[in-house]
Symmetry: C2
Subunit: 165 residues, 2 copies
DNA sequence: GTCTTTACGTCAGTCATGTTGACATATATC
DNA sequence: GATATATGTCAACATGACTGACGTAAAGAC
């Protein structure tokens, strides 16, 4: 570290700004996951179950391999969690129409209810943050977050067209 | 769900916007932690070690209970990880000056080197995202992220005074 | 109609990281 | 001297990740 850390040194400003970003992400993620975790514990589930429920709710009829791609975990890790959710009636599997090897995943009513209960807290957190920050800040937030995400997954967040606001 | 989901229904827009926020946070965190995780694996360490190294590097001389407050884990969880880092020469402990029960934590040279190696990738990710998004977007990002963080921890991110940009 | 690939599941074992509860020690404080 | 605090430690446990190997059914290629 050869940088001299004084308030007038732009290298220090930059370093400080970058570290604040790192910490914002850490604290936001920590607090963002804490509420759902507490609810999940009542069901004997963990954060991994939440992720599965969330993405299946978001993409009804998605395949197991779609889910593996999103979560970036091994199929063994997924299969335990997914198996529990199917067995306990939160998720259903049905064979694909074109490709019957696939198992298309969907939430049951019970699964939808839990998804809503879990995500509601997180939506409320975002709603508050967006409201307090304002529309312009939300655009900035989106831009920076997209830049943090690996290029391969940015296409999951389409730019909003004229219908959007 | 009684909302009718059409592009002209503001409730749908809001729901979609909130879900995008949730997903941005998930993907950003997933990708943000992946690179350091790979480096840590070479040392036989995990993400928990990174968090300890990061915050001790950021706050030299911090106490164990400071660290517990930030990480929100139990002291047993911390003590295993911290013990390894001390034993392997990445962190030193020395008694507090006023209160000799405390063990003030600091990175050794070895610890500083690892911290830099790990955080460098994350800083680079933020630097790229900030550069592409622009200064105004960064301000928006900060505002929204602060709003996501529990009120108790927002004071960790002081507003920048006139010296700041 | 075989052959290969793909989608998915499963078994066995391991590791990292979190938990609770109880207890120990040194120091600070009233 | 009694109590509270900062820290560490032991034992036991759960979750969720991993690797590697093997199995099955269906799709796709030749």
């Amino acid at each position: 570290m050869t940088d001299v850390k004084t308030p007038t040194n732009p290298l220090f400003l930059r370093e400080e700004e970058l570290r604040q970003g790192i910490e914002l992400l850490f604290f936001a993620y920590r607090d963002f996951t804490a509420e759902p975790d507490a609810i999940l514990a009542e069901y004997g589930f963990g954060r991994a179950h939440h992720r599965v429920i969330y993405f299946v709710g978001r993409n009804p009829g998605m395949t197991v391999s779609d889910l593996l791609t999103i979560l970036r975990i091994t199929k063994q890790s997924l299969s335990r969690v997914l198996g529990q959710l199917v067995e306990e009636g939160f998720i259903t599997q049905r064979p694909g129409l074109q490709d019957r090897r696939q198992r298309l995943l969907e939430l049951t009513e019970k699964g939808t209810a839990l998804e809503r209960q879990l995500t509601e807290r997180q939506r409320a957190r975002f709603a508050g943050a967006y409201r307090d920050a304002g529309a312009e800040a939300v655009e900035g937030f989106r831009k920076v977050m997209l830049g943090l995400i690996d290029e391969a997954d940015r296409a999951r967040f389409p730019l909003r067209g004229p219908g959007w606001r």
